[in-house]
Structures are given as structure tokens and as C-alpha cells.
Symmetry: D2
Subunit: 248 residues, 4 copies
């Protein structure tokens, strides 16, 4: 069975570096690039897409709330209209950067508190998908929506005939109800490579996920990523780019 | 002789309106839309492009320095690399917004202190044109550079084979050396419709300009715009969209 | 009976004016000055405090969420610790501006979505009051908390021994449960001077309020303010500055 | 002879850490705290002042241009009036944070491109000093201006009767004309502890400096700081807080 491995990248801002994109990107099959609202800036976006191109991985947009200080992790009560416009703007900016560099934007995954919101908030999910759908039609190319299985987001994608990919988290603990454990609780992040690898295999085996996320902002992120990738292969899963996997 | 009439629009930000776009846009043949760095925001950009579409005028990007508080009118020592990335980002974002709305982005005119810089700063002018050229190639459509005649900007456009349009200002006083009078000096803005109209005809008669700018941020802006347009027609100039005038 | 009349002022930002502070301030007895997070900027703050000084009205801080694009009217999930630090920063900045101009900061009234939040959210209300209390102790001067009667905010002020002033709205419609009608509903703003004046008198008569707010962002704001002030006087209320009224 | 050792600290922003303040601050005698415009945020400011208090070092303000993306290192053509207001705002905010924590703000040192500007730009230097003077008078406490020897800044401080401290850089190469070597040139930063220590002793021996700066944003910053401090003591200089050294 095919599975994609994705990571959030391009999260530096101006003078402040974040993550280890140079090391992490080659271990992934897809990356989600911050678009300048919660993280990233125009120069960082270009460099990140160049890295992704060089590594041959799929490139997606990672739009977020306009809140750098809170890194897009604080809920912000944007109206659906504001949200739709903000997502269109961010994804369009990155799409242009990709096009200028010879890369092809393939997917969109909301970030942080926006990701959390579109799990359940149907209006917001539809606003987000409308923005992506309008841009996809304008550029004449499909854009896959990445989000939690069973979410309002993936439901909205289906309604709008957008390809959709259910995402699991290799290195985040799940609660029994299928939600991610809050980052404020202990044990929320699985930073042990073996534990994360085992969870990744279990998630892939379940057949419920088209892509698995590995976080890049922990000290041992590359070790986790490598362990996850090896374990998936060893378990017979083909780790392959989302946009070449016939998802959706 | 054909001449285009342009205005800077979409300069509201969040709760703060600016200008009278609804009245001004139909009097123009082209508009330059702020892209969210010095003014404008995603929702304002959408609404402004909708206005322009409805009025049938040409749409261009009006990128500026990332300085809302100074409205992009304060020189900011961005490096050429930062500038190139920032222009690509802004123009790409607006291009996507246009595409999603069924409009076609046709030109790029830098704003404020950036406009002033690329008059003489060759490195900056080339960085700006490289950004536009890369995007134009990526989208397979020409993007015309709008700037002052004799500027480093128009020279860079020529070097990079981008169409270029020399711009005059109907309602700004010129110094004898051909530069605009500084906004800090008295008489810098010609807010009398008759005076501006006379200057517009004189500029158009000179044959040195492909487009004339009328400002929208003065109380009598629409009166000035109407007077300019009528005077140009009366003097035998065909007022027509830049992107349909075979410029470049 | 004494009652204070307050308005939110200093809400311009950079090139974007808002309100008619020059006309409105002299009609008030206290003003709440935006502190640069949701509106205002350093130069606007100085000019606004100068206006207030010249008019002899009381000056208070009007801190808000760091969200200019949304004008601080969109809920932002800042943690109590973030909130406490953000309020301390904003109030301290304005306090220094006041001190440098010879004015004395006298009160603090949260803005927009933050005002709404501290109505019920006890943790946030206590964080806000802790910030104000710490600054008040540091400068050796009381700072009065302004907020809705019966709110978590005024309760927290009492716990922390801060003077508190219950606020009513002359020109906003109330729901039967005592809450303000949402701005999204019709009739939320009472822009008829006679209606607002009548409501102001009724609120003052009730004895439940130490200060009444009049909004400055409507076209007829000064007419409303004048009518409110005259009606209060005619009804026998003494319109006088909060900080000279022995409130708290 | 007494000499102060200072470092720029509090330069994290939101989710992005910078420097190693926890290790560096105890090695200094004074620190310059970013005020939220080019770096820092309200929570970071509080934590940084707490560190400084715990370490018993002097606390100063490090105001900069409102340009986070460029880290205040890009010249921004703010007018003197804008500059004066922006410096007053930043220093007042930090002064309030200090006061609330029981610390006493003692000095002001401009950051980055603003530091460079007030070396020669008399109008800007006077604007900055006016802001500091107004706040110092308001709080009834002297605030020392820190800047390059022979600069317009220190001249303006003298004119305005503000205490002033000439600053040298232990770990930055000097050009023969006494200017710092540009960061764009090789060898601009002396990251070898022995070299920096030797330069520090030489600068202190010259008697021209009241304080020496050590940078915190290099990997070996604490090694450099330790070496500098030990070398100064070994050479017979008393390393002591600026605000206790009778400077000015």
C-alpha cells in the first residue's frame, strides 16, 4: 500500500531560523510550505521550494492565521469570507513562487489552529475549500486537500470535488476518541524514534490514511523521520509522493 | 494617439477605508491594486479586482515595501534578493486572486518609495524586473512594467524583454529636471481639475507617455479624473487600456 | 449624580485616519486611547493625548488584541500569561507617553473582542487586572478598570483592590439579558441622537453605571455625543471625569 | 579603570528563540533589551528582565525600527517625528515592564540600522535623545544614552544634558577610520575568544569607552564573553555596571 510522508517546512521568519529543513526535506515525500502569515517570508519560501525541488518531493501550501507572534497556533475568529480570501492569497502567492521556480504546487494543508478549526467548523472548512477550488480551476490543475480523517475539511473537499488525503501523525499521541492529544499535555509528542515508527506502521496498516506527518521542530526530528520511513518500508508500505499516488 | 489612464486602488486596510475606488475605477482604463504589504489585504484585493472587472478596466499589481505604518512611502533598505522575492510574492498573490475571479493581471507598477528607488537604482530595478519576468514566463503571459520614462526600471524591463510603459502624472507637479515635486513641498499635488487636465493633455501630446496616473486619495479625485479624461478625449487622444494598446 | 462620558479614540493607524477625535474629545469627560496593537501608532498616541490634555478630559488606555487587520474585534486565543504581558506592555507604553506630555493615565478599558472575553472569562480577566495592578503599584498611582457591570473583569478588579467603573453604552442597543446586541444584527447601533440620549439618561438614572460610552466611528458621532451630554445635564446628572468622581 | 560589559538580549520573537540569554546575561554587567519592534515581544521582555534582575545586571532599552522581518538592520526612512514617537513608545513600554518587576531601567542603546543612522544623522540623533529626555524627566530618573564615540548621538545627548556612555565592540573588527567593519565583509565578527579578549583590553586601555559590547548571537558567544571578562579583569580593569559607574 502506498503512503506519503509529509512535514511542515519553511517555518523560519526573517532573522529567526526554525527546523532543519535541509536535513528533513530529503527524508519526506511531500512538504507543506508556510506562506508568510504565521511563518515564512518571501525569501524563505523561495529557498524552501528550491530545497523541495532538489529533493524531488511534492510541494504543498501550509496556510495559517495571520499571527506570527502566536505562530498560527491561537484560534482567531476570522469570518468565513476573511478566511477564504486569506487562504486564496497565501496559496496563490506560493503557487506563483513554485511556478517561477519550475515546481508544481500539489496540495494544501491548513496550519495549527486553522487545522484544528476546520476539523469541525463546516463553514470555515467550506470557505477554505472554496478558495482552493477557485484557484485550482483558475490554474487548471488539481490541488489536494490534506486534513484529518472524518473532518469537516475532507467533507467539504468532497462536496467541492477536490481531491482529498486523510492525514495521520506519526509522532503525536492520539486520544482514544481519535483526536490528537493537546500539546499542553505530557506525552503529546512522540519523540522516541521507535515509538513513532511503530505508530506510523500502525496508522499505515489501518488503511485510513493517505499521508503521515512527521514534525520537524523537535531536536531528534530527522531521527524520527528516518525511523518512520524505514519502518514503513520494512512493513511493506510503499512510501511515495501524494501527488503521484493517485489519491483522491 | 492612444493613452491609458491609471490609478492606485485597493489601498484600504482592514477596518480603515482609503480612497473612493467605487467612483474612481470606472473613470480609469487601468488600475494598480495594492498587494497587502504597504496597503490592502486579501479581502480588499478581491473586492477591488471585482470592481475593476465590473468596470472593464485593466488590472495591474502595485507592490510596495512591507511597511503599512509608513504606507510604503519610507525608503527601506531591502537587498535586491529580498526585493525580488517580495515582488514575486505580492504579484503572484494578486495574480492568483485575479485568476480566481476571471480577471487577467496585465501590468506591474511599484509603489511609493519603491517606485522612487527603481528610478535610479539599477540593481533594485533589475531585481524587480526579474521577479516579474519569472512570473510572466511561469504563467505564459506578458506582464507590462509601468514606471517613469528614462528610469532604471524601464531600462531593466527592456534588458529582460518585458513590455514597458512610461508613466506621467496628471495631477503631480513636475520639477524642471523632469522629476516629480516632493510631496513635502507646497504645490506638489495639482488638485484643481482644470490644471491637472491641462497637464494631462500636455503630457499626452508629448508622446513620451503610454499611461497617465491620477491619484485617488484627494477629496476631489473623481473631479480631477473626469476632467482629465474629458480633456484628453477633447484633444484627440484615445483613452484606452494599456493592455489593449499594443504597448511595449 | 455624577456620571462620566467616555469614547474610544486614537484609532487611526499610519496613513489611515479614523474617527473625528478633534471634534469628539471636547464633548467627553474621559477618553480611551488605542495603544498600537489593534489600532493607533506611536505618533497617533502622542497627538491623541495632546488633544485630551488640551480638552481637559481624563486619559485611559484601550489595550486590545495584536490584530490590526481585524481591529481587535476577532477573538484571539491568547493565553492568560500572553494577555497579562500584552496588557502590561500596552498600558506601560501609553503611560510613558502620557507622562512625557504631562498627562496622567487614569484608567484602563479593554477593547473589542478582549472586552467581550473578560466579561465572562475569569482567568483572562484576572490576567488583565494583574497587569494593571502591577503597573499601578509600580507607578504609585491608582488605575481604574472600566468594564461591563457584573462582569468577570469588575469582579477581578475588586479581588485585586483596583478601583472599578461599570460602563454602559449610550448608543448601543441592549438585549433583554443586559448584553449588547451584536454588531452583526440590525439596530445594534443607535445612531439617532434622540434615541441615544434617552437611553443615556435611562442608564444614568439606573445608578448602575459610573461611565457611559459614546462611539466615535459613526458619521453622526458628534451629534450623538452632544445630545447625550445635554440630555444627561438636563436630567440633573453631573457629567464629570471618572478620575475626579471618586469612583471605586 | 571601570568598564561595563553589555550585550543585546531579549531578541527572541514569539515561537522563534534567539541567542542564549540564560547563559550570556550572568556574564555581563548590563543588557540591552529588545522592545518589540525589531525583535522581542511582551512575554519575552518580561522574562528577559527577570533574568537580568536575577543576575543583578543593569537593564537598558534597545529600541529599533519597526521591521521584524529585517531585524531592524535595514535602514528605514522614518521622519524625526516618527522616530521620536517610536523611541518614546518602546522605551516607555520596557520601563513599565521593568517597574512592574522591580527593576530600574537605566540606559537606552539604539539597535541595528538605527544605531548606524544616529552615528551621523544629527536630526535623528536629537529626535532619539528628545524622546529619552522627555521620559527621563517624566519618571524623574536619569537614562544614559549608549552609542559610538564621536557620534551625533552622543553629541545630542550632551546638548540635552543626558548622561552618555561611549561604546566599543569587543568582538567586531574596526576599520582604520574607527568604524565597524560591515557585517557583509569577511572578518567582521571576531568569534575567536582570544582575539576578542585582546581587542577588549585594547579598547578599555584606550580610555575612550565606558562600555564594551559582546554579541550573543554567535555559537561561541558565551566563550567570547567569558574570555573578554577575564582578560579585562586580568588587565586591571574593574568590570562594573554602567549605572553604578558614575558615567555621564
Amino acid at each position: 500500500v502506498r503512503i506519503d510522508l509529509n512535514a511542515d517546512v519553511g517555518e523560519s521568519f526573517g532573522p529567526w531560523p526554525m527546523g532543519q529543513d535541509g536535513l528533513l526535506i530529503p527524508l519526506m515525500t511531500s512538504v507543506n510550505v508556510a506562506c508568510g502569515f504565521h511563518a515564512g517570508d518571501p525569501l524563505t519560501m523561495e529557498r524552501t521550494v528550491e530545497h523541495a525541488l532538489a529533493a524531488g518531493v511534492g510541494v504543498g501550501a501550509h496556510p495559517g492565521y495571520p499571527d506570527r507572534e502566536g505562530f498560527g497556533r491561537r484560534a482567531l475568529a476570522m469570518s468565513p469570507a476573511e478566511l477564504e480570501a486569506a487562504v486564496l492569497y497565501q496559496v496563490a502567492a506560493l503557487d506563483g513562487v513554485c511556478a517561477a521556480l519550475g515546481a508544481t504546487l500539489g496540495h494544501v494543508k491548513p496550519h495549527g489552529a486553522l487545522y484544528d478549526r476546520v476539523r469541525d467548523d463546516r463553514e470555515a472548512a467550506e470557505a477554505l475549500c472554496r478558495a482552493v477550488r477557485r484557484l485550482a480551476e483558475a490554474v487548471g490543475r488539481p490541488l489536494t486537500i490534506v486534513g484529518p480523517p472524518g473532518s469537516a475539511l475532507l467533507a467539504a473537499a468532497e462536496v467541492l470535488s477536490l481531491p482529498a488525503a486523510a492525514e495521520g501523525f506519526a509522532d503525536r499521541a492520539y486520544e482514544p476518541d481519535g483526536r490528537l492529544r493537546s500539546r499542553r499535555l505530557p506525552g503529546a509528542v512522540l519523540d522516541d524514534p521507535t515509538t513513532a515508527a511503530a505508530q506510523a506502521v500502525s496508522l499505515a496498516d489501518s488503511g485510513r490514511f493517505a499521508t503521515l506527518c512527521v514534525h520537524g521542530d523537535t531536536p531528534g526530528a530527522t531521527d524520527v523521520a528516518r525511523a518512520v520511513r524505514e519502518a514503513l518500508s520494512a512493513a511493506g508500505h510503499e512510501v511515495a509522493r501524494l501527488d503521484r499516488a493517485g489519491v483522491g
